[in-house]
């Protein structure tokens, strides 16, 4: 159990997917304007990460030992199908949620965090449970980074920003400062 806890904490804060590995930067830049959308995006990511983790574990255990060169191709196919199935399921079960998520749902396919999670889960030889906690930690980390950035950007609207820093420049510099803060967690794992 302790091992699973540390896999979760490691993926969530110490090696935060967005702020330490630069994964999922497109939604991080694009959807971090409002806390509300940031939370929804985070939740959608957690869901797809969970599905992808389970599928990647099955592929990696039962199929890939016979055809290792198919790893990348099969992972990306599984992720694309998982996103598609998620989309169809949500549309059927809860049309309201489907409308709320909008374009962000299909775009998760090209979110590199999902592929990275599946890839490193396979490379590190995680068991089924370990992979699941890794996926949840990664999802929690993405959500934390998105919500933190969204709350800063909501307040940023009332601040006078120098003309040359408007747009993405200021967001990157804030992301750098956030990333600096998250480096403080680096000592957590060596104990």
């Amino acid at each position: 159990m302790g091992n699973l806890f540390w896999i979760f904490i490691s993926a969530m804060v110490v090696n935060n997917f967005t702020l330490a590995y630069f994964l999922g930067l497109c939604p991080f830049m694009g959807v971090s304007g409002r806390i509300y959308t940031a939370l929804r995006m985070g939740a959608a990511n957690v869901f797809v990460l969970t599905v992808a983790s389970i599928c990647a574990w099955f592929l990696n255990t039962f199929i890939l030992p016979y055809a290792p060169y198919l790893k990348l191709i099969s992972f990306i196919l599984v992720i694309a199908s998982a996103v598609q199935i998620t989309e169809m399921t949500i549309k059927k079960l809860s049309p309201a949620l489907f409308r709320a998520l909008g374009i962000y749902l299909p775009l998760i396919t090209t979110n590199c965090a999902i592929l990275f999670m599946a890839w490193s889960q396979a490379n590190r030889g995680y068991s089924f449970a370990e992979g699941l906690f890794f996926a949840w930690g990664a999802g929690a980390g993405l959500t934390v980074a998105l919500v933190l950035m969204a709350s800063i950007r909501e307040d940023l609207e009332y601040v006078e920003i120098p003309a040359i820093a408007r747009g993405n420049a200021i967001v990157f510099i804030i992301a750098g400062i956030l990333s600096l803060a998250f480096m403080g967690f680096a000592g957590l794992l060596s104990s």
């Binding site: 790893k71 990306i76 694309a80 420049a169 510099i173």
Partner: protein
Amino acid sequence: MPRKTTAAQDFRRGIWRENPVFIQMLGLCPALAVSNTVLNSLAMGLATFFVLFCSSVLVATFKKLIPAEVRISTYILIIATFVTVADMTLEAVVPEIHKALGAFIALIVVNCIILGRQEAFASKNTVPRAMIDAVGTGIGFIIAMLMMGTIREILGYGTFLGFPLFGGNYEPWIIFILPPGGFFTIGFILLGLNWWERRKLERARSGEPPVGVAVGRAA
């Protein structure tokens, strides 16, 4: 959709005026994650260039055979195949660089630059034009990677391609090779580009009315 651009415009466009990283804000993950040294940046740039070029040629060749409904999945499969080739080649030829780049080689598959060029250009144009466009965009990406890599290696290690630049008294800014340095470097490059654009606008203001600043718009 007939295009009005010439081949030379297709080539130049991707290099600077529509630079994939700094202007279009695409492919940010590799541009930030593996740009901590010049050598890593170059390897990443070349690998992406290779995948982009081969995928563009293949997509432009088979554009009539790919059904519109499954075109994105087809592009992804084509890209994934070439990424697998690049991954295995790098592992065999330069194992150290392959290790340093790690999972980010696999992540070329989800690099929006490549998929974006297939969807926006290669699937609508002839093979030679797709090649020219891929070369221009690929060079633009390599330039962006090298800018990031040069700044980060010089400040973070005090070296360029491994050669010391400042002698023994230089205290390296470790922060620039760590994750925050990536964010700060691209942030300051964007600040510089915005400043440059604004200065050009100020100078042109005497004549015609200024157009909006396009640098750093959201992806």
